[in-house]
């Protein structure tokens, strides 16, 4: 197991356990709201610590390797992730139609490697399709944003 992921989980378990104490652990006869998360944090901490120690002192080699993508894959991953974050940040301000169009066009063009005019047309077409399907047919109220529709 990767040491970094185990270390992160260990830190998380400490946060959970210490964060549960102010919620009141109660007694065995009457467990408080902090009791269960505290126990969960403690178990998580013990398991991650034991695994980390075993990993550090293990003589059987480097253990499981994570498979990270090649350079092109990392670029596509970062672009998609940033596009998602952008969508979340601007959905309510810019409105559904504008932000969905931007997301689709960007992803078709930069991540899907389609030509820019194909991406533009595809972005427009599918935005209208989703708008019709969800707003008109299924009556999902979307944020209107700057365009007001």
């Amino acid at each position: 197991m990767d040491k970094s992921s185990l270390s992160f989980i260990l830190v998380l378990s400490v946060f959970i356990s210490f964060g549960s104490i102010p919620l009141k652990l109660g007694t065995l006869a009457n467990p408080g709201p902090g009791f269960f998360p505290f126990v969960a944090g403690a178990i998580l901490g013990i398991l991650s610590l034991a695994s980390l120690i075993e990993r550090i002192f293990s003589s059987s080699g480097k253990g499981e390797k994570s498979s990270w993508p090649a350079k092109g894959g990392i670029r596509r991953l970062i672009q998609t992730s940033l596009a998602l974050i952008f969508y979340v940040l601007f959905l309510e301000k810019a409105g559904f139609i504008l932000i969905t169009f931007c997301l689709l066009t960007f992803l078709f063009w930069r991540v899907g490697y389609q030509r820019w005019h194909v991406s533009f047309a595809g972005g427009l077409l599918f935005t209208l399709f989703f708008y019709f399907l969800f707003r008109v047919l299924l009556q999902v109220p979307f944020p209107k944003g700057w365009l007001g529709i």
Binding site: M1, R55, S66, G72, L107
Partner: protein, 499 residues
């Protein structure tokens, strides 16, 4: 009400046009989800959940259940034609199914897969129909200690039968328990880990969590790749198996039904293990085991029957005990709770219409799937040829809209995207999401039953050992933990621990 009257009632409910239509939509979406590598039935159910809020719960569950067993049918199509499993439960089908397609027998492979799935699915529903009511009667006698012990058993089985190492699976389960505790405490109303965020007071939603971990994460994993899918067969004919195909496959189909159904009941078992077990058994008992992997029809018929039979088995603990035995069932539990229906031993008694309506709908669903899968093969092949760079933005938009439409709240979208990144990292570091989802759903139930048990016993943990059923279940739990830890220590951290 006797069985015949219940069945009649179920048929009457199912024949209502809205329920027939939604059953059809469910199995169609399920097949599509199964055909397309990436989305999965868990994410698809979570995605369609918001669209069901305005329809009766029975109709909603009929549709959502259809997605689950429909996906098992669809998953075989890509396994056979593209050598890429559409669903994890169809991984084993690639071994012989794709080889059959390469030899020009794609039609026979698809045909026997569809018929085997139909037979396995239908027979498992019959068994479900007869086993569920008496099991629910037994479970009515369970109190908080028995429920606590049984829920823990379910979690442990999922963790020990899962794909990754036992320790990793338990860590994910414990993390899921913690995530399930975020929000207001059910008993005292105290906010837990809400950090002053009002939206967190009701806890983390199951839908954004599942869509993030299974939907967004899957897309992020797939955008790394550039490999194109090559569909092996341009024209697929001869979909109806001939007499020899039936003769060769019937044994595998019947064995697959039994294996699938019983493994489906087991928490952590389910369609994936059922399909692997069926393949192993068919290879072991075959007179020509060396030919497996070169296009043996039994290697397709057995696993595909088993994975569909497992879906029927999986509904037993869900509908009778309220315990989901895999991630998909956990999402269904979440859905039922949103509708105000608490799955458990009282479900058959208090919501008999729902129970029998869903059971009968599964018969109709399996018939629809058999009719859909064979003539529509051409359509599924066309869909398979759509390049992933075109598909994935559309999948993302579906997920984003789905999360937003839950409560018209950007917070749900934020949670989904956040857990999408978490899910991606989990897959990279080889942590399984299924135990986390199961524990997320079961955790609050485990906590509630634990606290009630301790309240009843005035703090004495002996309550778990003085009641016979609870004591037996606790001992099984302890046995599982000790056995799994022993195997982990003896065989090393890379060993996969299987009961």
């Amino acid at each position: 009400m006797d069985l015949f009257a219940n069945l009649q009632n179920g048929v009457f409910i199912c024949l209502q046009p809205i329920n027939l239509l939604l059953c059809f939509v469910g199995v169609l979406v399920g097949t599509l989800v199964g055909v397309l590598p990436g989305l999965g039935p868990s994410a698809a159910i979570a995605l369609l959940l918001p669209t069901t809020f305005h329809i009766p719960p029975i109709s909603a569950i009929i549709m959502l259940a259809g997605i689950y067993y429909g996906a098992m049918y669809g998953g075989s199509t890509t396994s056979i034609l593209v050598n890429i499993p559409g669903e994890a439960a169809s991984v084993i089908t690639t071994l012989d199914g794709y080889q059959m397609a390469r030899k020009g027998r794609a039609g026979a492979a698809l045909g026997i897969s569809a018929f085997g799935s139909f037979i396995g699915g239908t027979l498992s529903i019959v068994a479900l129909m007869f086993l569920a009511p008496p099991l629910a009667e037994v479970a009515l006698g369970f109190g908080p200690p028995e429920n606590f012990a049984f829920l823990c058993l379910g979690l442990l089985l999922v963790s020990s039968l899962g794909g990754a190492s036992f320790i990793k699976a338990i860590m994910m389960a414990v993390l899921g328990v913690f995530l399930g505790s975020v929000g207001r405490d059910v008993i005292t109303g105290t906010p837990r880990f809400c950090f002053g965020i009002t939206d967190l007071m009701d806890g983390i939603g199951i839908v954004p969590l599942v869509m993030g971990l299974f939907g967004i994460a899957e897309v992020l994993l797939n955008v790394e790749e550039t490999a194109q899918r090559v569909v092996v067969a341009k024209h697929i004919g001869g979909l109806l198996p001939n007499l020899k195909d039936w003769k060769d496959s019937m044994g595998a189909i019947l064995r697959g039904t039994g294996i699938g159904f019983f493994l489906g009941i087991l928490p952590g078992g389910g369609s994936i293990i059922a399909s692997f077990a069926s393949y192993s058994i068919e290879k072991k008992i075959s007179k020509e085991p060396e030919k497996f992997g070169t296009g043996m029809i039994q290697g397709v018929a057995g696993p595909e029957t088993a994975n569909n039979a497992a879906t029927g088995g999986a509904f037993i603990p869900l509908l009778t005990l309220g315990i989901p035995c895999n991630a998909v069932m956990a999402v269904l539990v979440g859905a039922m709770m949103i509708y105000g229906i608490h799955p458990g031993p009282m479900l058959i008694r208090d919501h008999g219409d729902l129970f029998w309506g869903v059971i009968i709908s599964m018969y109709f669903g399996n018939i629809m799937l058999l009719i859909l899968n064979l003539p529509l093969i051409g359509l599924w092949v066309k869909i398979l040829k759509v390049p992933y760079p075109i598909l994935f933005p559309l999948i993302l938009i579906f997920c984003l809209i789905g999360a937003f439409s839950l409560n018209n709240n950007i917070f749900d979208v934020t949670i989904m995207v956040l857990f999408g990144f978490v899910g991606y990292l989990m897959r990279k570091f080889r942590y399984d999401a299924a135990p986390l989802i199961m524990a997320f759903v079961l955790g609050p139930m485990i906590e509630e039953n634990l606290r009630h048990s301790l309240l009843l016993s005035k703090g004495s943990p002996m309550i778990f050992f003085t009641r016979p059923v609870a004591a037996a279940l606790i001992l099984v739990n302890l046995f599982l933990i000790i056995r799994s830890l022993y195997k982990y220590i003896v065989q090393g951290r890379s060993a996969k621990v299987i009961l």
